[in-house]
Amino acid sequence: MSAFLAIIRRDLLLAMRRKSEVLTALFFFIIVVSLFPLGIGPEPQLLKKIAPGILWVAALLSTMLSLNRLFATDHADGTLEQLVLSPTPLGLLVAGKIVAHWLTSGLPLVLLAPVLGVQFDLDASALGILVGALLLGTPLLSLIGAIGAALTLGVRGGGVLLSLLVLPLYVPALIFGAGAVEAHISGLGATGHLSLLAALLALAAFFAPWATTAALRVSLE
């Protein structure tokens, strides 16, 4: 367990020393989301309708930006080999890396979303649902993305391959995440969507670290 906390601490420390990488993904999210209201113009009904979709698509793309470096830097400097050869089970270390990835790239999106949602004329209760959906959805993005990042490790042009591999797998998160806010606005209630999102998260939390570990071992051979 101490090794699990140590790898989270290490990755957070590295993220703090390399702030630009984290901030790039974050600014990308802010800018993409902010450009839509400017481009579409002041039509509150339309903006309200498209808001959940835009916020979610921007969150997916912003997560994609930061996925590349999840294992790539450790692979390049040889520390990944040391993680594989550590007496600590690799699955535990991988889980720690995924948690750290979510803390640096997912959690900031969750915290920023309500501020950006105001631009789309979302009311307080809709913003609450948006935050809830992102809180369940962004860890799912990190978990699924980790499998893709491990599979494309060391592959030339891995970035494009990673998007092709991971974005289709993000579709369920996108549908239920954006659907939750839409359902709430239209008065249907978001419970169903949020429950499905939580179920997906539970499933991914169980399988993704395991699948990522297997993919890493293959990539390193």
Partner: protein, 201 residues
């Protein structure tokens, strides 16, 4: 203690070596020699379990290593020719975090002592990216002192080190062997450590 029999490794389409075997008892070390591209690194990676060999068995304390898993990895330390240190972190942080990831706690005093032994006094709090190639190598090698492994598998450990550091590392390996440790090294230089076995690829 470490016994390898009939090992063969294939890289791509090419068979690098086959029928390789050796035994190491406590206090013995193996010098892996061979031309560039003859498979020295591949042999070491097979020994530590990073890439499984095409044929053959690697036995540690009477058990195949792939079945021992964590028990083998706890007693083994592999330092490859990669840096394996984080440029953004200081030598002290690198050493302490590496120990923590292995599930060991390392206090400042012990970590400092290891770094001082490798001549990094005064550089403990400087990010590694400001250090020279040889000093980076020393940061990595300091793990030999802090990790307490029985089997050291070192790929070109003397690369980038100055004369003084080479002597110091040789002495350290000598001490390790005298304590009943084992070592497998690759190097193109003649090794100033007595009593080694040789494997030519």
């Amino acid at each position: 203690m470490l016994s390898v029999s009939d090992l063969s490794c294939i890289r791509g389409e090419r068979r690098l070596f086959s029928g390789l075997g050796f035994d190491l008892a406590p206090g013995e070390w193996l010098h892996v020699q061979g031309e560039n591209g003859s498979g020295k690194t591949t042999l070491l990676r097979a020994l530590v379990g990073l890439s499984p060999p095409a044929e053959g068995e690697i036995i540690w304390r009477g058990e195949p290593t792939h079945r021992l898993g964590e028990d083998y990895r706890r007693e083994m330390l592999y330092l490859g020719h990669h840096g394996a240190v984080k440029e953004e972190l200081t030598p002290l942080e690198n050493l302490k975090l590496a120990a923590a990831l292995d599930g060991r706690s390392l206090d400042d005093r012990e970590a400092m002592a290891a770094l001082h032994r490798f001549g990094l006094k005064g550089r403990e709090e400087l990010p590694v990216r400001f250090l020279s190639a040889g000093q980076k190598r020393r940061v990595l090698l300091a793990r030999l002192v802090t990790r307490n492994a029985v089997l050291w598998v070192l790929d070109e450990p003397f690369t980038a080190l100055d004369v003084k550091a080479v002597d110091m590392l040789s002495a350290l390996i000598g001490e390790h062997l005298a304590d009943g440790g084992l070592a497998v090294l690759t190097s193109h230089q003649p090794m100033p450590i007595p009593g080694g076995k040789v494997a030519r690829l």
